[in-house]
Subunit: 153 residues, 2 copies
Amino acid sequence: MFNICLLTIGKVKESYLAKGVEEYLKRLRPYAKIELQELKPESFSKGTKEKAKKIEGERLKSFLEKKPDEEIIVLDERGKQYTSLELAQKLDQTKKKIIFVIGGSLGLDQEILNKYPKFSLSNLTFTHEMARLLLLEQIYRSVTIVNGKEYHY
Amino acid sequence: MFNICLLTIGKVKESYLAKGVEEYLKRLRPYAKIELQELKPESFSKGTKEKAKKIEGERLKSFLEKKPDEEIIVLDERGKQYTSLELAQKLDQTKKKIIFVIGGSLGLDQEILNKYPKFSLSNLTFTHEMARLLLLEQIYRSVTIVNGKEYHY
């Protein structure tokens, strides 16, 4: 059974995306241990973006430092790309709990990006809220692939 | 001003995705001529999927044959991938109307796939309903890039 945590910054504000996230968490629960961790976002103004990103990076770091046994993967568009089948195989073969880290609206602090392996959903840049939905949909698609369950295109 | 048509099969059934599609169409309208064409989906049972896909392919073909002056691009995960910046440049440089073709739940007929240039949102497979939202979000992101408008990650 997959054992996965999505480590994120803040809540999903777009209501339709929040509904999609809820929908896939619900669909996943019979097949996977799935957890959504939402750390506190740092408020910022135009001139304090970098500082706020750094603070959010510190929050992620102190969360991740308490998880020495988990496999940590950071979402970044410059990361490694998989097909849905390859992702399903990777999730199926990993015995550890996997933590996927998704940055907030400011993106991810460079230190976090440098430290962990990176996974890319696409060459395209999506909003971090959409990335959450896309990743959950792909984890659900992986479940259907591994279990030979019908699912659509 | 961008002049874009999304040529699709059927309506978006997932209500949260339909809401997202509506949202991006609304956001795009001040900046782009944007049109959503939804052709009739063919109903099918387990044994008639290929036949139904063929019929949907015929519907797309007869729509596209009446559009000799448009640039036609087919969404397919094996297609060419762009970054958001590259996509914005492509949309900005194209003087013709662009028709993006997205298949239905059965995917696209091979004849259509062979005939036109292909664009890939990702190596990952998403549902065709999600592909619609993702493409609209990327067109909107292109608009913000071309117009130097603030938009988030």
